[in-house]
């Protein structure tokens, strides 16, 4: 027999969704920061052609791509959680 009420379950899911939204906001801010870093690095090292600069630029681009995919996964997670809450 369940010891948790539907209201409590919905409340827990709502809290989880809020955490997800806060995390998404942090990722968005991080993405903007990385975009700024990419621009800054290009401006500061313009024309250097150094391998390490290319490595840094590539790693920044990869970090941005990973963040995008992380963000996409959180949206999918939120959809599933909302769908579950709707069945309660």
């Amino acid at each position: 027999m369940s010891t948790v009420s539907v209201a409590e379950l919905k409340s827990a899911i709502a809290a989880a969704l809020q955490q997800v939204r806060d995390g998404q906001a942090a990722i968005t801010a991080a993405s903007q920061n990385i975009e700024a870093a990419q621009g800054g690095l290009t401006a500061v090292t313009a024309g250097s052609g150094h391998d390490s600069v290319a490595t840094a630029q590539a790693a920044l681009a990869q970090a941005a791509a990973e963040l995008e995919q992380s963000l996409a996964a959180t949206f999918a997670a939120a959809e599933q959680a909302e769908a579950y809450a709707a069945t309660l």
């Binding site: 369940s2 948790v4 379950l9 827990a12 899911i13 809290a15 989880a16 969704l17 955490q19 997800v20 806060d22 995390g23 998404q24 942090a26 990722i27 801010a29 991080a30 920061n33 990385i34 870093a37 800054g40 690095l41 401006a43 500061v44 090292t45 313009a46 024309g47 250097s48 052609g49 150094h50 390490s52 600069v53 490595t55 840094a56 790693a59 920044l60 990869q62 970090a63 941005a64 990973e66 963040l67 995919q69 992380s70 963000l71 996964a73 959180t74 999918a76 997670a77 939120a78 959809e79 599933q80 959680a81 579950y84 069945t87």
Partner: protein, 264 residues
């Protein structure tokens, strides 16, 4: 922009990488997972736990990439002789935007630094040459005691090729030191080798101090000790040090006193 300004900008950039935001996001997702686990304890329904797990894995991957960024920036700073001090030490305070200095010209910096080290002047006439050819030309100039040619070759090669010289020089220095000593060199040999080579090195690179020659020898002879933070200085010392070592007499294992000069 001078090297110090460039270094400041890059260190500030590294310090501003959004690792705290990653930590914050991960903490939120972990908390969300805890809530969802509790909420789905009595259900088999998919509530997003796996997706959140995947999101955190991607976040970890992005964190690794930022680590690579910081490492690459350190490498670049070392390559241009700007050192690898802690990024946070020179980063502006949080919330205070760093002034954006104009871009540095690495070739200009290289030219100025090589001129300074060689105590000469003149503009570079950029010439793209393979590192091995540059190395051989510098060896020839050093062997002939031609300081003008030595400075010019190094200056014209620019930083892209110049920074590769130590990779060619150090194995030879170690090999020549072993021939001279009659055994593999170690750290205790550095002062003696330095004293034997420093005059010849400084004849072509006057601003190379004995300490710098010792650092180069230590790097070559002990396999792994750093050579300081000035890429141009390290590059300038390498070939002339090889030439100086080449002139040292060979010594057998039981005879550590000089015999005959190998070359005039």
């Amino acid at each position: 922009m001078d090297v110090a300004a460039l270094a400041g900008s890059l260190k500030a950039l590294a310090a501003d990488l959004p690792l705290p935001a990653f930590d914050a996001a991960d903490a939120h997702f972990e908390a969300a997972q805890t809530e969802l686990k509790e909420a789905s304890r009595e259900s088999n329904a998919e509530v997003g736990l796996h997706k959140l797990g995947a999101a955190r894995e991607r976040l970890d991957a992005a964190r690794l990439r930022l680590g690579e960024v910081a490492e690459a920036l350190d490498d670049y700073l070392a390559a241009i002789g700007a050192g690898t001090g802690p990024a946070a030490a020179t980063a502006p305070a949080a919330g205070v935007p760093a002034a954006a200095p104009p871009p540095v010209d690495p070739r200009r910096w290289w030219t100025d630094r090589v001129n300074e080290l060689c105590d000469r002047s003149g503009d570079a006439e950029p010439e793209k040459v393979p590192p091995t050819r540059l190395f051989n030309e510098l060896l020839k100039a050093a062997g002939e005691g031609n300081a003008d040619a030595y400075c010019k070759r190094l200056r014209d090669a620019g930083p892209e090729t110049g920074v590769k010289l130590p990779g060619l020089a150090w194995p030879l220095v170690r090999s020549l030191a072993a021939e001279h000593l009659g055994r593999n060199p170690n750290a205790s040999d550095v002062p003696v080798l330095r004293d034997k080579c420093v005059a010849k090195v400084r004849a072509l690179v006057p601003k190379a101090e004995p300490l710098h020659v010792a650092e180069a020898l230590a790097s070559a002879c002990t396999l792994g000790v750093g050579t300081g933070e000035d890429a141009a200085r390290t590059a300038a010392i390498g070939p002339v040090l090889v030439a100086a070592m080449h002139r040292l007499p060979r010594q057998g294992p039981q005879d550590e006193h000089p015999k005959t000069e190998r070359r005039a």
